[in-house]
């Protein structure tokens, strides 16, 4: 005789499903049971399911402390027939029981991307990635340290980032425990490290590209730089929504895309005065320099560059007219203020200091 037993979460989501082929099924906290419930309100051997001679299924309390109840019913169940699909509260665990013939939804197919995310949770993968991260940090610190390299610098310069990773992973872990009783902490650490390594690679590529580029390519590279940030955010959200909340593909894609869209929207709001001011102050020459070996292209000749510089005069004439117009606008505003001030304070117009002789 077959019976299907489901452990349910707080929202009646299925946490675990077992199909057992037995005449009698024992449920409790001890390892010797057929169905083990990790719940301190469940006794070591709490309940028993048993088929009678006619194939009917009964649930029976084996003298537990907290008993068996039906949700929204006060009375405890001593021994009762089970209707297929009924939910019982055993201790505080919700358990749904089906007869073996009950049709069950087919198992969700795990996609390659999800396999990969789960694979990230393997301890050896996490350890490997963390070692790779450490190596990258050591190399980066050594290359970037002006002066004597000390091992303590690696810690000093990267402690903040590591703490951030751990804090994020712990935070998401607790969130996921709240929602589905158990998160994938190691997979999350692996994900963060992997994203960091990916982002560092893109960053390095961008620095080399910027170093090699002329101003004609700066807008493209700036767009690439911004897009890179959004892509990383998208990947992170998409993965976390699976690892921590087990959202199906469609929903997690939709939610992460929506969040990224909002971020892009906020970033592309009209700039305020301050941002414009900061941007104006930065000359293009204020970017990273790299060793000459990383210059991968031919330089322009003096004449070619000179021709490009000639083109500036046209741009400047346009800028000049624009600036003159905006200055005139400001001036006319100031003048309007002056008129008001003069009307309010008429005695100032004929001040005693200046006889009009």
């Amino acid at each position: 005789m077959e019976v299907i037993i489901e452990q349910l979460g707080t929202t009646n989501n299925v946490l675990e499903r077992q199909k057992l082929d037995a005449h009698r099924v024992r449920i409790g906290r001890a390892f010797s049971n057929d169905v083990i419930l990790n719940d301190e309100h469940v006794d070591a051997v709490h309940a028993q399911l048993e088929f009678d001679g006619e194939g009917r299924l009964f649930i029976e309390d084996l003298g537990s402390v907290n008993g068996i109840r039906r949700p929204r019913h006060k009375g405890a169940v001593g021994r009762s027939e089970v209707i297929s699909g009924e939910v019982f509260l055993i201790g505080r665990s919700r358990v749904r029981i089906y007869a073996g013939t009950h049709p069950v939804a087919p198992a969700v197919r795990i996609r390659a991307s999800e396999m990969f995310l789960l694979w990230l949770g393997k301890p050896q993968v996490t350890i490997g990635l963390v070692l790779l991260y450490l190596a990258a940090k050591i190399v980066a610190t050594w290359l970037g340290t002006i002066g004597e390299f000390r091992w303590s610098l690696v810690i000093e310069q990267n402690l903040g980032e590591v703490m951030l990773f751990i804090a994020l992973a712990v935070g998401v872990y607790f969130l996921s425990v709240l929602f589905r009783r158990g998160g994938n902490f190691l997979a999350h650490i692996s994900l963060l490290v992997l994203l960091f390594l990916f982002s560092s690679l893109l960053d390095a590529a961008l620095v080399v590209a910027l170093f090699n580029a002329g101003d004609a390519h700066y807008p493209l590279l700036r767009t690439f730089d911004e897009g890179r940030g959004y892509l990383e955010l998208l990947i992170y959200l998409w993965s976390v929504l699976y690892l921590a909340f087990h959202l199906p593909l469609g929903r997690r894609s939709l939610i992460s895309a929506a969040v990224v869209a909002v971020v892009i929207g906020v970033n592309s709001l009209p700039e305020d005065e301050l941002t414009r001011f900061i941007e104006r102050q930065s000359f293009p020459m204020e970017q990273r320099f790299l060793p000459p070996g990383l210059l991968l292209r031919d330089s322009l000749s003096g004449q070619e560059f000179g021709k490009r510089v000639e083109g500036l005069f046209e741009d400047l004439e346009r800028e000049r007219h624009k600036a003159l117009e905006s200055r005139d606008e400001q001036l006319s505003e100031v003048n309007r203020d002056d008129v008001v001030a003069a009307e309010e304070l008429p005695e100032l117009n004929a001040g005693p200091g200046l006889p009009n002789s």
Partner: protein, 442 residues
């Protein structure tokens, strides 16, 4: 007269104890002093000159508040005054907002009109408007006609801090060599408010016009010859301020073109600097300073800079000056850093324009930046930033900022940088060609 003699006698006695050479010099000083024997008390001279001295004020029309104050002096009939351009500039640039007024010694006052400007030499000729003309004016100042000897006593006149017309004695110390435009070095305390006043010799003849002080009694005068030139072209009636402003851009472009032409003439003498041969004091009016970092054990790189400037600024308004030029070369090297670490040091440099300006005066810098092979330096690749900004009110006038940087093999880097303030398009191009064309590797 007596006290002067006493002082000199005292000095002679002291020097007689010294060696014979010093004694001879002492005698010469004595002789010179006797020849140009001067009164030490200028009461009567001051009395005579005072009626021809004026306080010039720019007044905000809306609030009647004084915006700027300087001095001026009578140089011709009909109330023709000379003063500095920078005293009247606010009025010339914005006559709707500001009025130009004068005050004389007997506290009579009235309006002024501007007849002619010379921004290059910071001079202006103004005239008391007919309605404001007082009954009697003092005698106009006479201008000196013979050359002045270095060391001669001079008297600066003006109204410092608007506390009243004052007389400041000092010394003529010749014309400055460190500037392209001629200017007199006057040792005497010129303070704000004295701008536009005359500096006269003990006979009361004008030698120069007060223009600037550098502190500690180091002061500068505009030579009277520049004033004479301006006075030859005084129009009969005052042109509108807009008319006065109209030709300024061409005047500055022309002046700067002459200066650049002078600078670019002939081959530059190059001097060694790190791995480079660079121009330094290629003209007497270009002054250079150099600096090197100390080699401290905790700083694992060394740097040197050569900084040459023509600090000859043309005043245009309170927020804008122009005409300055600077050439800066930097050399960084290290035998302790790897190439990546060295890049971090090398990229720290930032380059800023050399002249004063505000958002209302100039556009933003527009730049072209790319890798350029500099032919004179064996075609080596430099990341060059060539930036220009335009003056809003002076069409055709630009500031140029050029930086070329290269990190070379073996943790070494050089940068080449110049700023040119207030030049026309042709001058900018000619200077650039010469600058990048004249450099050499050592």
């Amino acid at each position: 007269m007596n006290s002067e003699h006493a002082m000199l006698q005292h000095r002679s006695r002291a020097e007689s104890a010294a060696c014979r050479g010093l004694f001879v010099i002492g005698t010469l000083l004595l002789l010179a002093s006797v020849v140009s024997a001067q009164p030490t008390e200028y009461g009567s001279l001051f009395e005579r000159l005072k009626p021809a001295l004026f306080t010039v004020e720019v007044v905000d029309r809306a609030s009647s508040n004084k915006n700027a104050q300087g001095s001026g002096f009578l140089v011709g009939p009909d109330g023709l005054l000379a003063t500095n351009y920078h005293v009247v500039s606010e009025y010339v640039l914005d006559p709707e907002r500001y009025a130009l007024k004068f005050r004389g010694v007997d506290n009579f006052s009235g309006a002024l009109e501007v007849l002619a400007l010379d921004v290059l030499h910071d001079l202006a000729l103004v005239r008391i408007v007919a309605e404001s003309m007082p009954g009697a004016l003092g005698e106009p100042f006479e201008l000196v006609s013979t050359p002045v000897r270095e060391g001669a006593s001079l008297l600066a006149l003006g109204n410092p801090y608007d506390i009243g017309i004052s007389l400041v004695p000092g010394t003529y110390n010749g014309e400055l060599e460190s500037q392209y435009r001629k200017m007199i070095h006057f040792t005497g305390a010129l303070n704000p408010g004295m701008s536009g006043g005359p500096t006269v010799n003990p006979d009361g003849r004008v030698v120069g016009i007060n223009v600037a002080g550098a502190g500690n009694s180091v002061s500068f005068l505009v030579p009277v010859a520049d004033l004479q030139r301006l006075m030859q072209a005084v129009p009969a009636s005052a042109p509108a301020p807009a008319e006065l402003r109209a030709g300024l851009a061409e005047v500055i472009i022309g002046h700067q073109a002459t200066m650049i032409q002078d600078l670019l003439a002939g081959d530059w003498t190059l001097e060694p600097f790190g791995p480079l041969m660079i121009p330094r004091e290629i003209r007497p009016w270009i002054s250079c300073t150099g600096s090197s970092s100390d080699s401290q054990p905790e700083v694992p790189w060394q740097s040197s800079h050569s900084n040459c400037v023509l600090n000859d600024r043309i005043y245009l308004s309170r927020s804008l000056d122009t005409g300055a030029l600077e050439m800066v070369f930097g050399w960084y090297h290290s035998d302790r850093l790897n190439a990546f670490q060295f890049s971090r040091v090398y990229e720290q440099n930032s380059f800023l324009p050399f002249n004063r300006s505000s958002d209302d005066d100039v556009t933003e810098f527009e730049c072209r930046e790319d890798w350029v092979g500099i032919e004179a330096l064996d075609g080596e690749a430099f990341k060059a930033s060539h930036c220009l900004r335009a003056y809003l009110d002076y069409p055709g006038l630009y500031d140029v900022l050029y930086v070329a940087r290269a990190q070379r093999a073996g943790a070494e880097g050089v940068h080449l940088h110049y700023t040119l303030a207030g030049v026309g398009r042709e001058s900018a191009a000619a200077f650039h060609r010469k600058f990048v064309g004249s450099l050499q590797w050592k």
